[in-house]
């Protein structure tokens, strides 16, 4: 009976005739574990679609209710905590897998003839995925997400001539508000996913059309004239059917990825919702999701003159370079051992990413608003004048930017031994006039306050004992 039903379905749908040959298409037998990242990206996308649909059934994309509905999902809804967590970690997994997949394809030069378009469609997909990550952050509708969008709109506003229009288009008005949220919602759940579906369709079709690339071999450079023929020949001799000979590795790896996503959402949970997006709450400290920290760091370190060009130019340039890469070099060696520049680029890129990410996390350019006053064991003085000076250094905000023996921010130079570097006159001038990136304090300090502060700063030397003796 079941057999009969199945053969009816099979006949009418053509599963055995059409789908099975696709599943069983022959792939090189050396593909192995290197090739599991693409399917893992797809798997993470499926996680996103399913959890996203589930979330959309409860989430309200309205400025007045979004935050509350997210709170409800996180705190009260059955399994809501896990679903939201999966959507968050799924996004992380998707970004990570896409980048790793791309790095692998780049290292093995699989983008060369005839697979140029596979790579190009992949580059478009990557940027769409980043767009998903970014729009998703606003849907959280907490202070952090809202301010991040403000920052993005300001960046867009710097486009010459039409910047303001673009910014107002993004925001759906003049400021971040109810219309911004529904706009981002539509982009996040309709437009970008539509693009991703279409992009994945094209990407997969191209894989079937050109076949999965072989592991690069040193004596096997790509010659467009003969490549296809030789590839077919080798495939004929040594190829294996994708299902099940090659696919089992993809399935195992994807199982691990889903397992990790699930484990993270169960044991760590979704990111805590920040304070609600009250624009009057100025004590927000906007910070993007971790995969954008590197860019955040870049933004902070730019010299103002270059800023606009880099803010606007680098994403466009990055996209263009990646996109046209296979057109610039589509034949020749594929083996990493023969392509030192490619390996170098990957190492450089990865290092820059890690260093900038750490830097973005530490935010040394940001004033440290939470810094505590200096404790007595650091002030090390019984002189009330000096003690008051130490207190002033905190009150006047010096410590927000300057570090003294481990207390304070890192925007300005460390002041732990400033007393040995500058004398009284120099200190007074420096504090009253300010200087490169330092405000002038002339207007906000009385002469007495200045005196006390300088007295205190002069005790900050690298040989405090001598100083004390000299004083006595």
């Amino acid at each position: 009976m079941i057999g009969k039903i199945w053969s009816w379905i099979d006949d009418r749908t053509g599963f055995s005739d059409v789908v099975m040959p696709i599943m069983k298409h022959v792939v090189p037998d050396d593909a192995r574990w290197w090739y599991v990242f693409g399917s893992a990206t797809l798997c993470a996308f499926i996680v996103q679609v399913l959890t996203g649909i589930a979330l959309a059934m409860v989430y309200v994309p309205g400025g007045d209710a979004a935050y509350e509905s997210l709170k409800y999902i996180t705190e009260d809804a059955t399994l809501g905590f896990i679903v939201r967590g999966m959507h968050y970690y799924g996004a992380t997994a998707m970004v990570m897998m896409a980048v790793i997949h791309m790095t692998q394809v780049f290292l093995h030069a699989s983008y060369k003839y005839p697979r140029e378009m596979n790579w190009m469609s992949g580059v478009v997909l990557l940027f769409v995925v980043l767009g998903m990550a970014f729009t998703g952050q606003l849907l959280r509708w907490d202070a952090n997400g809202v301010w991040s969008v403000m920052v993005a709109a300001e960046m867009a506003g710097r486009v010459p001539f039409i910047g303001e229009y673009i910014a107002h288009f993004i925001l759906g008005g003049e400021t971040v508000g109810g219309s911004t949220l529904s706009r981002f919602f539509a982009i996040h759940v309709f437009i970008l996913p539509g693009l991703i579906f279409a992009g994945i369709g094209l990407h997969m079709w191209l894989i079937l059309r050109h076949g999965i690339s072989e592991m690069p071999k040193k004596n096997q450079p790509v010659e467009p004239e003969t490549y296809k023929e030789n590839y077919e020949k080798r495939l004929h001799k040594t190829g294996v059917p994708f299902w099940p000979d090659a696919m089992w590795r993809d399935v195992i790896f994807s199982t691990i990825v889903v397992g990790v996503i699930l484990a993270c959402s169960i044991f760590i949970g979704p990111p805590a919702l920040g304070p609600s997006p009250d624009p009057a709450n100025i004590h927000a400290n906007p910070m993007p999701d971790w995969y954008f920290w590197w860019y955040f760091a870049v933004l902070s370190m730019l010299p103002p003159a270059l800023e606009t060009y880099i803010i606007l130019g680098s994403p466009v340039l990055g996209f263009v370079i990646l996109f046209v890469l296979p057109l610039l070099s589509n034949k020749g060696q594929r083996a990493p051992s023969q392509r030192p520049w490619a390996v170098g680029t990957v190492i450089f890129g990865a290092t820059a990413f890690i260093v900038l990410t750490i830097y973005g996390y530490l935010k040394p350019w940001s004033p440290d608003f939470d810094v505590k006053p200096l404790p007595p064991e650091i002030v090390k003085s019984n002189d009330p004048k000096i003690q008051e000076g130490a207190l002033l250094v905190h009150q006047k905000g010096c410590l927000y930017c300057h570090d003294i023996d481990g207390y304070g921010g890192h925007r300005g130079p460390v002041l732990s031994d400033i007393g040995s570097r500058l004398d009284r006159g120099e200190l007074v001038i420096r504090i009253s006039n300010g200087g490169y990136n330092m405000p002038s304090f002339a207007a906000s300090l009385t002469a007495v306050e200045m005196d006390k502060m300088v007295d205190f700063l002069l005790t900050r030397t690298d040989h405090p004992q001598e100083e004390e003796k000299a004083d006595n």
Binding site: D64, W147, G157, G177, L181, P279
Partner: protein, 175 residues
């Protein structure tokens, strides 16, 4: 007609085909325009909307101490009904003298982050990239290219009022 030769007949057939092809393409374009244009206009409308402005009552004049800078909240005029808490905008308000008030936008002119007022140092500081402004809003340090934006403030019937207006983008030359 058909007796003359086979050529004209095929030519007529081709004409027919060509005509249908043209009609189909043109009509498809019409359908496309009919479907997309209203939606496009709807979506683009906010880009060209002229900002609304009105005076918002903040609080009694006597509630504010001379020389103090405090945060105030008021309803933004451009917001939609369902904006919830984001309908509100914040500002830094300072009473300068008996009769004078200044209101600064809380948005940093670098990339829009909320600036904090540090009273003892008499500075506005931005948490994002370390922008610092003096008490009059001028740039003291860091990346901001321009002074903090200000709102119009007036006193009416013993109340402080702020004119709602959108905070200009850093590059907005209409400021």
């Amino acid at each position: 007609m058909s007796e003359q030769s086979e050529q004209p007949q095929t030519a007529g057939e081709d004409d027919r085909r060509g005509f249908f092809a043209k009609v189909s393409i043109i009509l498809s374009a019409v359908i496309g325009a009919g479907i997309t244009l209203p939606g496009l206009g709807f979506v683009l409308a906010p880009v060209f909307a002229r900002p609304k402005q009105s005076w918002r009552r903040i609080g009694k004049v006597d509630d504010y101490e001379i020389g103090k800078t405090v945060t105030v909240e008021f309803r933004d005029d451009v917001s939609v009904k369902w904006a919830g808490v984001t309908a509100m905008t914040g500002a830094w308000l300072r009473r300068v003298s008996e009769k004078d008030f200044i209101a600064f936008s809380i948005n940093c002119r670098h990339l829009g982050c909320p600036v904090n007022w540090v009273a003892d140092a008499k500075l506005f500081m931005c948490p994002c990239h370390g922008g610092v402004y003096y008490e009059d809003g001028d740039v003291a340090a860091g990346p901001p290219p321009e002074p903090l934006a200000r709102y119009e403030v007036r006193i009416k019937d013993g109340f402080v009022e702020i004119e709602t207006s959108s905070v200009p983008l850093t590059t907005n030359d209409q400021v």
